[in-house]
Symmetry: C2
Subunit: 298 residues, 2 copies
């Protein structure tokens, strides 16, 4: 298929903001726009207005969840049950296609990110990658054998149960479903709930980072045992804190206690290779190309 | 390929005992033998002596671990680092093939079990299955998209960290690497360590089963979030305790707290379909057939 001259679209559909981008077939971003996530009607109107300026050939969508990502299932293309007002049972793909009828690839924001790191993050193509985002929530995407992991639906590893840090036993956590699951204990809002200070204003020397590092280490240990990945990538605003992954690697080594042979931890528990939170955009664009190629060979 | 008339072999290589079987190409077991696992030389001599009585065409091996299962890696076919005396770095496949040079499929005991349930347990072929064995140790095998899950090596989900049950906080656990990981808290030896009574002699009404059920529920929750499976199967001597899975389902429902849509739990957290601990044997035989077919089309 000739893709030269085609334009690819990316929608990063976050619970807080949408980022839409247009790129050429070599993944050079031509134009990008960001706007606040409000109600689905207004938000989709802005999204379609952006893409209607271009002759876009395919769009990759990395969405906040939970969402229906299995083609053929009734909920495919929908935001499913979300606390975000107005978005439960919203037909995302259907409403986009009603305005712009091009091939789309619809997946989670973290699947898009892990795919971006897989395609452009200089890893070998047979590698198993796990991508965590620690921000407003905690999401996890996994790629193995070139495919996203997930049977009935996408992983929900943000809600694993952790052993509490001794200095954190009285903190109830902020997850509205589970209280003190991973998301309840290590998302951005958990920092403000513990300290009364917004996460970005907490000093690097605050002991809360030792607690977060312990939970990151447990999260890394859990996916190590489940998937035996080649790399575990921590993105999102919380993970970017200087020194945090270094602390987590130390805790992780203690958890392993020389049981599993592991790569050098500095190259195993890592930040994204793609800078400026770009993993999801590049992942979306690569998935748009995938959708375009799939539609063409039909 | 004509498989009619061919004989298939199964080796269930357990840390306590070996079970070897011969079956016809329709998976009817013709002969079976069991013996104690001693040192590798004597144990392999008994194994090869059994198979040399037959004109076996291929052998499936489900072994205790950790083992090297990735063809092309240096440790493929080996038992790797095990506390079991004499078995560390033992070349299992090499020593078998030196005596009986037929195609083999070498995987973990729990991968063999999950494959048996996948092939013969009346599930649909696109389903994602997780198989736990709770016995002397805790092992986990996962199949998704028809393939075993595991990147650099096989899963080691037996060593996940659990939140302790309030009535179990002072129990240190029995895992020699991690103390109170899943294996340290829910394997057979943990029962004797807590109560002073061998697991099989503990009464059904003992409160220790509430503790074990809580850990089984956490294990099921962890793999639910990681793999979004269609079914989670609990085999092994501990899991067989009457009423235990029923208690675990109740705890599991509380953990989910209506977050994820799930199938009826009675059909989700289940015992093996294949009776009398036969999942591994049938899995080995099916994997032997797979190895034979693969070798033939080369």
């Amino acid at each position: 298929m000739v893709v030269e001259g085609k334009l690819l679209g990316s929608i990063e559909a976050g619970g807080t903001k949408f980022v839409c981008a247009i790129a050429d077939a070599n993944f050079n971003v031509i134009e990008q726009t960001k706007f606040k996530t409000t109600n689905p009607v207004d938000t989709m109107a802005k999204t379609t207005a952006f893409f209607q300026q271009f002759n876009v050939s395919a769009i990759g969508i990395g969405s906040f969840g939970p969402i229906g990502i299995k083609e053929g299932q009734d909920d495919y293309g929908f935001i499913t049950k979300t606390p975000k007002v107005g978005w439960s049972d919203f037909d995302f793909v259907g409403s986009l296609k009603a305005a712009i009828n091009v091939p789309v690839f619809f997946t989670t924001d973290v699947n898009a990110s892990v795919y971006g790191e897989y395609e452009f993050g200089t890893v070998k193509k047979d590698q198993t990658l796990v991508y965590f985002t620690l921000g407003t929530g905690v999401g996890v995407g996994v790629i193995q054998g070139g495919s996203f992991v997930g049977g009935r639906s996408h992983p929900e590893i943000g809600h694993i149960i952790l052993r509490k840090h001794p200095d954190d036993v009285n903190f109830a956590g902020v997850c509205r479903f589970h209280g003190d699951c991973l998301e309840g204990l290590a998302s951005g809002p958990s920092l403000a709930a513990r300290t009364g200070i917004a996460g970005e204003n907490i000093s690097d020397s605050d002991p809360v980072w030792d607690i977060i590092a312990y939970y990151i280490a447990q999260a890394a240990w859990s996916v190590t045992l489940s998937f035996r990945p080649d790399k575990i990538i921590f993105g999102g605003s919380v993970s970017g804190r200087p020194g945090l992954l270094s602390k987590a690697r130390q805790q992780f080594a203690q958890m392993n206690n020389d049981y599993l042979p592991l790569p050098d931890l500095d190259n195993y528990i890592v930040h994204p290779k793609i800078e400026n939170n770009g993993s999801a955009t590049y992942g979306d664009l690569a998935l748009a190309l995938f959708a375009l190629q799939k539609a063409t060979v039909k």
